[in-house]
């Protein structure tokens, strides 16, 4: 949100500014990629800095609203001998955004989604998403490492990771809109990912809906466990 002086909110600017520090950026990246709660020791070890320094930077990230901290006892021990609960960090639920000059695409997206929903134009939206995915899949850069679909989804902010079902997506790039218009936006998202697969020469049917609370609704099934 732009302030009176047309600059993004101080809080958002401060949060983004914090990530200029390479240690903070590495710590933030580690916590995000872990997909759950990370202790100070784990983060320090992963990034290769002292525990005290990691703690200092992690707490700065919490202050800025990029991470959230909780306290919990690790391990099985309970009672007086169990020691203090550990401070654990995970990615904050909120979103940080800054645009210069000010742009409010979220408002436009919201209005467009509302209109598409009221017009019942789900099929047209899905077709447009499929076409956009196909075009983007065909345009992908050739150089990267790892499977093409993982690169393409990674570049689009999905944060893919592997589990037994195939490729899951930790981040929903449309989270706010998907919360307000779940059927419309999740179906759009599935069609987009089907299009990406098609564009890079993979069977679009590898993308299936497998929604559960707290993750992207789509899973890209492994090549060898398709029906």
């Amino acid at each position: 949100m732009a302030g009176m002086d047309d600059l993004p909110a101080d809080r958002d600017l401060a949060a983004i500014g914090l990530l200029q520090d390479p240690v903070r950026r590495a710590l933030y990246g580690h916590v995000v990629a872990a997909g759950g709660e990370v202790s100070r020791n784990q983060a320090a070890e992963a990034v290769g800095v002292q525990r005290g320094l990691a703690a200092f930077h992690l707490d700065k990230l919490v202050e800025a609203g990029l991470l959230e901290a909780t306290f919990r006892r690790l391990g099985e021990r309970r009672g007086p001998g169990a020691g203090r609960p550990a401070k654990l960090y995970r990615r904050a639920a909120g979103e940080i955004a800054a645009s210069l000059p000010p742009r409010t695409y979220a408002t436009a997206a919201h209005l467009l989604a509302e209109a598409v929903d009221q017009a019942g134009a789900d099929p047209e939206l899905q077709a447009a998403a499929r076409r956009a995915g196909q075009a983007a899949g065909r345009r992908r850069p050739q150089a990267g490492r790892g499977p093409a679909i993982e690169q393409v989804l990674g570049a689009r902010g999905y944060e893919p990771y592997r589990d037994g079902a195939g490729l899951r997506l930790r981040n929903c790039p449309f989270a706010q809109l998907a919360h307000e218009f779940p059927v419309l936006v999740c179906a759009m998202n599935l069609a987009l990912i089907e299009g990406l697969l098609d564009g890079i020469g993979e069977p679009p049917g590898r993308a299936v809906m497998d929604p559960a609370p707290g993750r992207c609704c789509v899973v890209v099934t492994s090549k060898d466990n398709q029906d």
Partner: protein, 153 residues
């Protein structure tokens, strides 16, 4: 235990009779999705005939309109089933099977725990929502209202 449960009604105007090929995909999902609802956390009750679903109940003048009426322990429980289960995968095909509704097609409201809403009451909540917009007596997922606190009204 909570003093109130959440009632939901959802209307859908079918594009063709249920025994036609156009609706075959929908009909095939009725039993598995209803079973999924019945076993979902927070499910309390759903309207059904002896067929095990509510597709035969057509309480509107326009007999193409079907009614889905259910009760859940909380808004979160209903939301998880509707939007974060296999139910979502069926909903994304809604335009193949159903016409877009001009007016409100979904209404939510709180009922005292242990009571079950009637079809007539559900029709009334949809009408209110269409006429007055969301308020505590008839609201939507996007404009929710908290459960009444204290004694049931």
């Amino acid at each position: 235990m909570a003093t109130h449960h959440l009632a939901q009604v959802n209307l859908a105007t079918v594009r063709a009779p249920l025994d036609t090929p156009l609706l075959a995909g929908f009909v095939a999902q009725l039993e598995p999705i209803n079973a999924l609802a019945d076993h979902s956390p927070g499910f309390v009750w759903r309207l059904q005939t002896e067929d095990g679903d509510a597709t035969a109940i057509r309480p509107f003048e326009d007999e193409r309109i079907m009614v889905n009426l259910s009760v859940w322990e909380s808004l979160e429980a209903l939301r998880s089933f509707v939007y974060a289960s296999r139910h979502l995968d069926v909903m994304r095909r809604r335009r193949e099977w159903f016409h877009r509704m001009a007016d409100a097609y979904l209404a939510l409201w709180w009922v005292p725990a242990g009571t079950i809403p009637t079809v007539a009451e559900a029709r009334d909540r949809i009408r209110r929502l269409t006429r007055d917009g969301p308020d505590p007596d008839a609201f939507t997922f996007r404009s929710p209202f908290p459960a009444p606190t204290g004694a049931a009204r």
